[in-house]
Structures are given as structure tokens and as C-alpha cells.
């Protein structure tokens, strides 16, 4: 696997996906995956797309359960979407193994049917997302899984389809080489969770294990409102906040103070703040200000 910063060069925010995209979402924790999928599903419903979610190993109700628990779930009417067939959650067994074995051609045809159906139902297109862990289970024909991904990719590359696909790969389940091969099939690259903020000077992305923010660019006077807003959205969610500073080229005193003051939540609760991969320049600033020993602060130098 490439590092997060390397893979970012060819990764795209879920919120920016368009018809014709066939992206993969490699993840290693459920918080990140759920946040990404919630965006994918809710964007689709908001834009009038039909959303087909192929779950693997968990019942459709369980998928619906965690979708409903995401922070902005109250903005989405899942009951209405299910009732009116805007959202369909299928178990992998029924999606992939209708014929009793994994047959790439059949599945491609099946997805074609879903797309036609979606258009007949007056949707403007289809959003498809599949959990990709089944291929490891030794089901009949699952050795042809890579072939299936290639076929899908070929369709997206050669035909102007009103569809987009997001393939979820739990990286903990795959060997490194087979994962690299599967990810490489997706010429569009990887999908990533939407940034919280990006103004060209400072980019703020969510991070999940442990929860917090990854910051990239410059933190100075002009970036404080955005940073303060992003920290506030994390406010009450966690007792340990991880701020990854590996991508920060410059941070001024006021910016650093804002990060450190996240040790107290908006409601006055005390939290631990872990600064991760702190560049030397920020370590120097911490020392100069006499802040390196603040209670509740952990500094991991980069």
C-alpha cells in the first residue's frame, strides 16, 4: 500500500464523484468506511440517483442501522428511499451468486439490468457500491473476481454510462499484492472521504483511528475561522482527538493555540489532544511558547 499522502495524488473525494466513475475505497476501519458510504448514499439520494448497495456478510438491516447512526443521518429520509425503491440494499449472495457460482459476465449483466431499471424508474442514473470481501471466501468461481473488476472497468471506460461504482475494499482482508492488483484495475483511482475544508491554503480532512483531523498546508491568521469550525464539528464526539500535522508547512502561534485549546470541548469537557507527526518547526514553536508540557497534550514528533 502507498502512504496516505502518496495515494492522495490519485484519490478523489466521494462528494466529487460523477457518472462514469469506477473508484475503489480502501479502508481499514469502519468509522472511515461508514462516513464515506454515508456521503455516497446520501449524495445519490439527494441528486435523484438510484442507489444500490451490495452488502457482504451483514444483513441489509445492519447496513441501514449504521447509515442511520451517522452524524447527519437525520437529514436523510431512509424509509421513504427504501419504500420508493430509491435505495436498495442487497446481500452479496443474492447479487453475485444467483446462479450458484460467481460468474463475471452474469454479474455485469445484472448491474446492466439495475441501471436500465433505474432509468425506467425515472432516476437520472445509478450509484452502485459493493463490499468486496466475498471474493476471499472460496465461493465457486470467485477466483474470477479480478476478471469481473476488469470487465466493469472496461464498460466504464468505453461506454458513456449514467452510473458510478464505488468498490469497498477492507484492506485487512487482502494480501498486499492481490490488493494492489485489484486497486490498480480502477483507473480512476481511489475514493476518499470528503475534505472538511479546502481553500487552497489549508486543507482539512477527517481522520478516524483515532478520530480527529489531518491538516495540510498553511495555518495562519487567515485560516483560523475554518480550523475553528472544523474543530467544533468534532466537538463532543470523542475524548481523544488526533491531529495529524504531517502535511503542515507552516503554523503560527494563534493556529497552534487553537489546536491546543481543543483540549477543552465547546461544552467544557476535558479531552486528550494528540499531535501526530509534528514537523520540527511546530515542535520548536511549542517549546518557544512553553506549551510542550500542557496537561492533556501528547506530542509525537514527525
Amino acid at each position: 500500500m502507498t502512504s496516505p499522502s502518496e495515494s492522495r495524488a490519485r484519490s478523489r473525494a466521494i462528494g466529487g464523484m460523477k457518472f462514469g466513475d469506477h473508484l475503489c475505497l480502501p479502508y481499514d476501519n469502519d468509522l472511515e468506511r461508514r462516513s464515506a458510504l454515508f456521503t455516497f448514499v446520501s449524495d445519490g439520494l439527494a441528486q435523484g440517483h438510484k442507489v444500490v448497495y451490495v452488502s457482504d456478510g451483514v444483513a441489509p438491516d445492519a447496513v441501514l442501522g449504521w447509515l442511520r447512526e451517522e452524524p447527519e443521518a437525520d437529514l436523510v429520509d431512509f424509509d421513504d428511499a427504501l419504500k420508493n425503491d430509491h435505495l436498495v440494499i442487497l446481500p452479496a449472495e443474492s447479487a453475485y451468486l444467483a446462479t450458484g457460482r460467481f460468474d463475471p459476465d452474469e454479474i455485469v449483466a445484472l448491474f446492466g439490468t439495475h441501471l436500465e431499471m433505474a432509468l425506467l424508474q425515472d432516476h437520472s442514473g445509478l450509484r452502485l457500491t459493493c463490499e468486496k470481501t466475498f471474493s476471499l471466501r472460496g465461493w465457486p468461481g470467485s477466483d474470477r473476481f479480478a476478471e469481473f473488476e476488469e470487465k466493469i472497468e472496461q464498460i466504464f471506460q468505453t461506454m458513456p454510462v449514467s452510473a458510478m461504482a464505488l468498490c469497498q475494499y477492507d484492506t485487512r482482508w487482502f494480501g498486499r499484492r492481490s490488493l494492489e492488483r485489484l486497486l490498480a484495475v480502477h483507473a480512476g483511482g481511489n475514493a476518499r472521504v470528503d475534505d472538511v475544508h479546502d481553500d487552497g491554503t489549508l486543507r482539512i480532512a477527517p481522520r478516524f483511528t483515532p478520530p480527529g483531523l489531518s491538516l495540510h498546508g498553511t495555518i495562519e491568521e487567515s485560516s483560523l475561522p475554518a480550523l475553528s469550525g472544523a474543530l467544533a464539528t468534532l466537538a463532543e464526539r470523542t475524548d481523544l482527538l488526533c491531529l495529524d500535522l504531517s502535511g503542515v508547512g507552516f503554523c503560527d502561534m494563534a493556529g497552534l493555540r487553537l489546536l491546543l485549546d481543543a483540549r477543552i470541548s465547546a461544552e467544557g469537557r476535558e479531552r486528550q489532544v494528540m499531535l501526530r507527526e509534528v514537523p520540527e518547526s511546530i515542535v520548536e514553536l511549542l517549546r518557544a511558547a512553553g506549551w510542550e508540557g500542557l496537561p492533556g497534550l501528547y506530542v509525537e514528533e514527525g
Binding site: 503560527d252 494563534a254 493555540r257 491546543l260 518557544a288 512553553g290 506549551w291
Partner: protein, 300 residues
């Protein structure tokens, strides 16, 4: 003025002059040897060749610090004293310090700042269980330094640190030396100002530009946010140091000890100028009817 001590303890800060090394050792040993509390830490900050002779004369262990390293810059020395005091000395029962500051090899401007440092000790350590005795070798130290010592230490000639510091500020600053690179700045210019500072400082031969860039950014941010909003920066060198002058033609300061009083270590209060003073080697500030000048100096 915020104090770092409890206020229930009394700072002792005295000086003595000597003409013979034997007199230094005798007075120093007497001071250290009159330790009143077993928890009191005994500290010697002097030339390293004094340590052994003092240790022979004092029956308790001494913590010895080499003055050449210790008296690096006024702000860093103050910060180091405060750090050790808070973490080790004061909680254990106080500290007794025999100190001999370094005066030779310093420029007139540096000597002025070290005199001010002695006055600041009275402010910063007020109310802490600190007893400090400063030694002056009359054979080598100038009369100006000796006069100042009498006014910055407790005794007959003790002068209010605010007044003493204001007198230090009356000395004119050196005129900038050519070539001077200058540019104005206002809101939105900080990134360009940082690039400019780093480039010009490197051009003048500074290898590690980051601390200076950071300090310039901090002062410029203050001018933009709390000052008139518009300032100018001059970057030049006197051959020994790279100098950055930041000028706000309207803003006037009213804090005589700006950036010298250590922030509370358990809170992220306003530590901006405290950090600026530590990031640079010397910071000179002049405020008057024509605005305020912040002069940041970093050794080459």
C-alpha cells in the same frame, strides 16, 4: 503585572563586587553555606573552573551550570530559570543561586539587554522562593555594568524595574546598515512576507532561517490584528547578526515587559512575544510618538 510566585515568598536578589578570586569563593561559599532549609537547592552558575573550589567549601551538593552556556540570551536564560524553578527548585523548597553573568565579548546593545535582564529578575521571580546572589569581578567588568548592578539588585540604589527598563529604551538603536531589503505588509500578505524574510535572511548568510521567519510572522500578525493593521519590514545585517525591523507607524505599546513575563504553563494564554523573544537572540522594542519598532536579531 502577573507574578509567577505565590506572593508569600520573598525574592532575594543581591549583588557583590570582588577584586580577588579568593574573595569570590569566600563570599559565594558563605552565601551557599547558609542554607536554611534542607529542601533548598544550591546552584552555581559561573565559569566552570570555579566549581571545584566552591564544592570544597560548601558541605552540601551543588548543581553547577557553566555560565558561558547558561547566559545564552536574556529571554532563554529567564525561560530556563523559570522552567527549573517551576519543575524542580520551588516545589522542593526553594533555590539559592550564586550567579556570575558573562560580560566580556558582548556588544554594547547586548550589554544593555543583559542589564535589563537583571532588572527583570526582580519582576519575574517576585514572590518565588528564590535567593540569588550575583557576582561582579571589578577587575574586568566595566563601570557602567557595575553601576547598573547596584540599581538592578536589592540595596540602597535599587531602582524600580519599570524605570530602569525605560532608561534602557532611551538608548538609541543602531542605524540599519546597507543593503536593506524592505517591504510593506497588511492583511493577506503574511505568506509573501514569510517567503521574503526567509529569502533575504538566507541571502545575508543565515543558515537556519525558520525561527526568524516564525518570529517575524508573529510580530507582523500582531501588527495586523492588534496594531494599525499596516506595517513595514526591513531586513539587514550588521555583519554579526541578521536584523529584522518591523515598524508600525501608529501603534503604541504600553507594556514595559512585553514578552518577558512567562506564561502560565498549564494554559495557552498569550505567549506570542514570549515565544518571539526565545526564537530570536535579541529583541529590542521602541515605542514613542512615531509608532513602534520591533527589532529582531539572530546571530549569524
Amino acid at each position: 503585572m502577573p507574578m509567577i510566585g505565590t506572593g508569600t515568598e520573598l525574592l532575594v536578589h543581591r549583588e557583590f563586587g570582588y577584586d580577588r578570586d579568593e574573595d569570590f569563593l569566600e563570599a559565594g561559599a558563605l552565601f551557599l553555606g547558609t542554607r536554611v532549609d534542607a529542601g533548598e537547592t544550591l546552584v552555581v552558575i559561573s565559569a566552570a573552573d570555579r566549581f571545584a573550589a566552591l564544592a570544597e567549601r560548601v558541605p552540601w551538593p551543588l548543581q553547577c551550570l557553566d555560565a558561558r552556556e547558561w547566559f545564552d540570551t536574556p529571554a532563554r536564560t529567564l525561560s530556563a530559570l523559570v522552567g527549573l524553578g517551576r519543575e524542580k527548585w520551588w516545589p522542593a523548597g526553594g533555590v539559592r543561586v550564586l550567579a556570575e553573568p558573562v560580560w566580556d565579548g558582548r556588544s554594547p546593545a547586548e550589554i544593555r539587554e543583559w542589564k535589563r535582564y537583571e532588572a527583570l529578575i526582580n519582576v519575574v521571580f517576585a514572590g518565588t522562593p528564590t535567593r540569588m546572589l550575583c557576582a561582579y569581578d571589578r577587575r574586568t567588568v566595566s563601570s557602567g555594568v557595575l553601576d547598573a548592578a547596584r540599581r538592578t539588585h536589592q540595596g540602597e540604589h535599587y531602582t524600580d524595574p519599570v524605570r530602569f527598563s525605560a532608561e534602557c529604551d532611551r538608548a538609541p538603536l543602531a542605524a540599519p546598515a546597507d543593503p536593506i531589503a524592505s517591504r510593506g505588509f497588511r492583511r493577506g500578505d503574511l505568506a509573501a512576507l514569510r517567503d521574503f524574510t526567509g529569502r533575504e535572511a538566507a541571502g545575508l548568510g543565515l543558515t537556519r532561517t525558520f525561527p526568524l521567519v516564525l518570529a517575524v510572522n508573529e510580530v507582523a500578525t500582531n501588527i495586523i490584528k492588534h496594531g494599525s493593521g499596516v506595517g513595514s519590514l526591513w531586513v539587514w545585517s550588521d555583519g554579526e547578526q541578521v536584523v529584522c525591523d518591523l515598524i508600525d507607524h501608529e501603534f503604541l505599546l504600553d507594556d514595559p515587559f512585553l514578552g518577558f513575563v512567562p506564561p502560565d504553563p498549564s494554559r495557552t494564554g498569550d505567549a506570542g512575544m514570549w515565544a518571539v523573544r526565545k526564537l530570536c537572540d535579541f529583541v529590542e522594542i521602541r515605542t514613542g510618538s512615531t509608532g513602534t519598532l520591533f527589532r529582531l536579531r539572530v546571530r549569524l
